[in-house]
């Protein structure tokens, strides 16, 4: 054995020595990082193929002729001496019709096609183009030969899914006069138009994922991103084009919120990034979404959804790239003039991936071992959200709303990722383990949460939800605040020691919490609450309080007021089927009316 070993070693040594003169080889493999030499011309973020199996990787450091590469696939079994091939540029994603309904890995490969290549378990080295190269799409031009086009102009359309027209755009760095354009059935890489300089414009285009796609200008946020969740729409609304941080310890329902929004929120396109999360959860999304209907259009939910999946046991470097892949897709649809929502679950796992790679690069760590550039990277990610006027003609307005879940260790919000997210996000939906423990879902803590979009969206809610929306909202927030104070006092002196007005406040606040704010993602009639329903429930609760308070002021004792009837009516109304709705509203109004002295 030892003789055979030394012979093969000698042979290996010769092979490697010969190779060193010409082509780059691996000199080190440790975890997700590989080092290769000689690569004197390597550029940062250049895409490379690592080893004989051509695993995907990206250069993250260059020192002299040595390049350090983060590898997007499992590095087990890579050996020193294996070849490394550099490609032309950074990681680019193929954008075009066929993205909707697809499930991609962290570097943009469809998981189903990876499964065709490597079976039920993912093996490294699979080649799978993002878009189906064979499928033909019917392209209908909207401009003619002779037109001068520039970046972002719409060339024509493709019916990508039953409810969404895919607008084929001139790529951002291109301009010229159209010399040929034709209708017909094309594959994504086929040229549908030509420019005078010979440039071919295809159905698809490529974009480097780490770079934000350009827009003509940013627009102020004014319409709300309607989530169908009462506590969010009513108390902490976010505007289309806004951004939210959703931190919560484990078991507080982060994932359920993200999934509920993906199901019910008002958006044309949803990009859901499962970043370092559970495989079974992704399976649930994949099972459920095709069966669920978009509440507004009645189409299958999968028709408006793109999933980017890097479960916690998939390679860590691809976790880092997954958020950029998702963001690029979201921006692409924004540029077509759509309202896009991006959910990332969770940004903490992305930050941990940064930390892992940074530690292996032996960079000087910042807080809790995270790299010092964490806050910066997180900010540039969140800032890709926004409502914009897209480049090109015809004029289009697109919005990209970003909802990022954060998983703070031990539920402690003072940790670096939560804090970095809060500095840039426009709203905080803080999830509280105590509420989750009481099975109060969504477990959004109304004292800690905030939204910087509340004022901007008020006019919209006043018009579409109810006349007194802002007043009811402020009243409710105040009531909840006073309830918290009173509960502290009651905790000291006992609830029995409280006076009637205080007890009334506690009663109504409880209704407000349990009926208005709590909402079951699993109740068919309550999973999505229209803004009208949200307003009505809240407004009824608040007028209960006002009517009963007037009764108390008139000297009536609290015990004689029939608050139980109001409560029953509100509980029934909350889960009422559409056909029971009108009767339910009438009963609730009657119950509230009965309180007035």
């Amino acid at each position: 054995m030892s003789r055979a070993g030394s012979v093969s070693e000698a042979a290996a040594a010769v092979a490697t020595r010969g190779g060193e003169l010409t082509s780059p080889r691996l000199v080190r493999v440790a975890g997700a990082l590989a080092t290769a030499r000689p690569m004197p011309a390597a550029a940062l973020y250049q895409l490379v193929h690592v080893g004989a199996r051509r695993l995907l990787g990206e250069v993250v450091r260059v020192q002299g002729d040595t390049a350090t590469i983060q590898v997007y696939e499992d590095t087990t079994g890579l050996w020193t001496g294996e070849p490394v091939t550099a490609t032309g540029g950074p990681l680019r994603l193929e954008l075009g019709p066929g993205l909707l309904g697809s499930v991609l890995d962290g570097v943009g490969r469809p998981l189903a096609r990876i499964a065709e290549a490597t079976g039920d378990f993912i093996a490294p080295g699979a080649v799978a183009p993002t878009l189906d190269p064979q499928r033909r799409w019917t392209f209908e031009p909207t401009i003619q030969v002779g037109a001068t086009v520039s970046a972002g102009d719409v060339l024509g359309r493709v019916q990508e899914s039953p409810g969404l027209e895919h607008r084929v755009l001139v790529p951002p760095d291109t301009r010229g006069v159209i010399t040929r354009i034709e209708a017909g059935d094309f594959r994504v890489s086929d040229a549908v138009a030509h420019l005078e300089d010979g440039t071919a414009l295809a159905l698809s285009q490529r974009w480097p994922v780490r770079l934000a796609r350009p827009a003509a200008r940013r627009l102020p946020a004014e319409t709300p991103f309607v989530t169908g969740q009462r506590v969010l729409d009513f108390l902490f609304p976010v505007a289309e084009g806004g951004s939210v941080a959703v931190p919560g310890g484990f078991g507080t329902g982060k994932t359920v919120i993200e999934q509920t929004l993906a199901k019910y929120a008002w958006a044309d396109v949803i990009v859901f990034i499962g970043c370092g999360e559970r495989g079974n959860e992704m399976a649930e999304v994949l099972t459920e979404f095709p069966q669920l209907r978009d509440p507004r259009t009645g189409r299958s939910l999968l028709d408006r959804t793109v999933l980017v999946v890097n479960t916690s046991n998939m390679p860590v470097a691809a976790r880092e790239s997954s958020v950029y892949v998702g963001m690029t897709i979201a921006e692409y649809y924004r540029d077509m003039g759509y309202r896009v929502a991006l959910m990332a679950d969770s940004l903490s796992r992305w930050a941990e991936a940064l930390r892992e790679v940074s530690a292996r690069l032996q960079e000087m760590p910042g807080e809790e071992g995270y790299p010092t550039y964490l806050a910066n990277r997180l900010a540039s990610f969140y800032e890709r959200a926004g409502r914009v006027q897209a480049l090109g003609r015809p004029q289009r307005t697109g919005a990209l709303t970003v909802i990022g879940a954060v998983s703070p260790p031990g539920g402690d919000f003072s940790e670096p990722v939560t804090q970095a997210a809060l500095r840039v996000a426009g709203a905080l939906w803080a999830l509280d383990p105590e509420l989750a423990r009481q099975r109060h879902f969504p477990a959004v803590d109304w004292r800690l949460s905030y939204s910087l979009h509340a004022d901007a969206t008020e006019p919209w809610f006043r018009e579409h939800g109810g006349e007194a929306w802002p007043e009811v909202r402020r009243g409710a927030l105040e009531l909840l605040e006073r309830e918290a104070e009173l509960r502290e006092i009651a905790g000291l002196v006992g609830a029995e020691a409280l006076q009637d007005p205080e007890r009334l406040l506690l009663d109504v606040a409880r209704d407000l919490r349990e009926v208005v704010l709590a909402q079951s993602a699993f109740a068919p009639n309550d999973a999505f609450s229209t803004v009208t329903k949200t307003y009505l429930l809240a407004q009824l609760s608040m007028s209960t309080y006002q009517s009963a308070a007037r009764a108390l002021a008139a000297g009536i004792s609290l015990d004689t007021l029939n608050l139980a009837r109001v409560r029953r009516a509100l509980v029934a109304l909350k889960t009422a089927a559409p056909e029971e709705w009108d009767a339910g509203v009438a009963e609730a109004r009657a119950a509230v009316g009965e309180l007035t002295p």
Binding site: T16, I122, A283, A495
Partner: protein, 486 residues
């Protein structure tokens, strides 16, 4: 994955059929520190490659390449390194990644953490040698878990339902009966329609006492012939602990997906595993994360726990119940914290209930099964399961809050409803949770819960819909009338 098995290892374990080098022998290593050996100027070294270290006059040791580099390769040694002189040790780089024997033949047998027999019998031949690092299940090939597993424990079956393909850890504390409850679940769990079913128990740094108690219960329940034991005890090498769960899960995946078997993997104690991880991290001079645990602990734990699941078009499943000890009962400690983020829920034991002599001392408030909804309801358990569970939970939560308040203001200072909830909480703990050592069928669990609910005024039961309530009253009435006639 014993040495003889390695000698047999064929092309199967040569990664992906790439031209992985043949075995190479180095006459000596450059340095050694703790569990690590450093090899200088080695060419063609693969990451994860299996290494045999032969020191004169000592039994061969096994190691794995954790950092492959031409200037300095790092090898993690699985056995005790005391007495190892690096310069005198001959190292064979085998050209293979570690693999383990898998197959149905392993059932009924006991192995150490690396898969060597502990029962005095010869090495199993098995069906195949499978690389033990395992690969991630392709999420698009997974089936969302949905099949209810009856454990016989009311607090689990009723309120934190376990389903096939789930990973549901037990958060125990020092001196709390975590392993005992795991044993009870294993005894009680069977496949409802008689499908092939197997249990794999992985001891990770457990004491001889814990091992004996667990194995004795398995034997007494007659479950041994469908069980495989992988035992790494407290006295065994720490590094072996890092491989033991992977060895066991490789065997589990094979049984599940090649032999259509429903496999329940119980691992105890994950805390010892994490400490081994920290030890090796420190030896490699890595930048530590929280409380000295490595920053990649989440990824590492996920690589183990994510190996639970169900695959499309395959009959079997892998379900995991890892048991861990929360140091100082602290649920925010990195070990339970990260586990909680990866797993699909957690079952938390309560020292207070344990102190009061209640068994099993499961605290349902912080406990959670994320996949519960998929496993309950009409056709699976009972139609009203969700609201029934929500109502029990809500009343108990309110009662617990009232208990805190009563400690300050006295019971007399409580609201009527709070006082009722307080009484409910007491009965809930004694009658529903503390069922003792006997298993309960699901029907008994549901009935026990209903009886508690029915002792409360209807107005307190806000989570029970009117239709459900009427159906229950009608059913209960019918039972009473039928009972009267009998």
């Amino acid at each position: 994955m014993c040495l003889s098995a390695l000698d047999r290892a064929g092309a199967r374990t040569r990664v992906g059929g790439t031209m992985m080098p043949l075995p190479r022998v180095h006459p000596g290593a450059a340095a050694a520190a703790g569990p690590l050996v450093f090899l200088r100027a080695s060419r063609k070294v693969a990451l994860g490659e299996w290494v045999i270290l032969r020191a004169p006059g000592q039994a061969p040791r096994r190691g794995q390449v954790v950092d492959a580099a031409e200037d300095m390769t790092v090898i993690q040694v699985l056995e005790e390194t005391a007495g190892l002189a690096p310069t005198l040790t001959e190292l064979t780089l085998t050209g293979e990644v570690p693999a383990v024997t898998v197959g149905r033949e392993l059932l009924g047998r006991a192995f150490d953490g690396l898969g060597r027999p502990l029962d005095g019998l010869p090495d199993p031949v098995g069906d195949a040698l499978a690389p033990l690092t395992g690969r991630a299940m392709n999420p698009s090939r997974r089936v969302s878990p949905y099949a209810f597993i009856e454990t016989g424990l009311s607090a689990i079956d009723g309120l934190n339902t376990l389903v096939r393909g789930q990973k549901l850890p037990l958060f125990s504390g020092p001196g709390l009966p975590g392993l005992e409850i795991a044993a009870q679940i294993v005894e009680g769990a069977r496949a409802p329609r008689g499908e092939p079913f197997a249990v794999i128990f992985v001891g990770l740094g457990i004491t001889a006492r814990e091992r004996d108690a667990f194995v004795r219960r398995l034997e007494a329940s007659g479950a041994m012939e469908r069980t495989i034991l992988y035992l790494n005890e407290a006295r065994d090498p720490t590094i072996e602990r890092l491989l033991a769960p992977r060895v066991a899960l490789t065997a589990a995946e094979h049984l599940a997906f090649e032999h259509a078997t429903h496999v329940l993997v119980v691992m105890a104690d994950l805390t010892h595993y994490c400490e081994a991880l920290r030890e090796i991290g420190a030896a490699r001079e890595e930048i530590p994360g929280r409380r000295g645990y490595p920053g990649y602990m989440y990824t590492d734990l996920a690589a183990i726990l994510e190996r639970a699941g169900v695959l499309a078009g395959r009959e079997g499943s892998v379900t995991q119940i890892p048991v861990l000890t929360m140091p100082d009962d602290d649920i925010t400690h990195p070990i339970p914290d990260l586990t909680g983020y990866i797993a699909e829920g957690q079952l938390v034991l309560s020292r207070e209930l344990h102190r009061r002599g209640l068994f099993p001392p499961l605290d349902v408030l912080p406990s959670l099964s994320r996949l519960m909804n998929a496993g309950i309801g009409a056709g699976k358990t009972v139609p009203e399961h969700r609201e029934w569970a929500d109502q029990l939970y809500a009343l108990y939560a309110r009662g617990r809050e009232a208990r805190l308040m009563a400690a300050i203001v006295g019971e007399g200072g409580l609201h009527d409803a709070d006082r009722r909830a307080l009484g409910f909480a007491e009965r809930f703990e004694k009658e529903f949770v503390a069922q003792g050592r006997d298993g309960r069928a699901l029907a008994q669990t549901i009935e026990s819960g209903w009886r508690l609910l029915e002792s409360m005024p209807r107005d307190d039961l806000v989570r029970i819909r009117e239709a459900t309530w009427k159906a229950r009253r009608a059913a209960a009435g019918a039972t009473v009338r039928a009972g009267g006639r009998a």
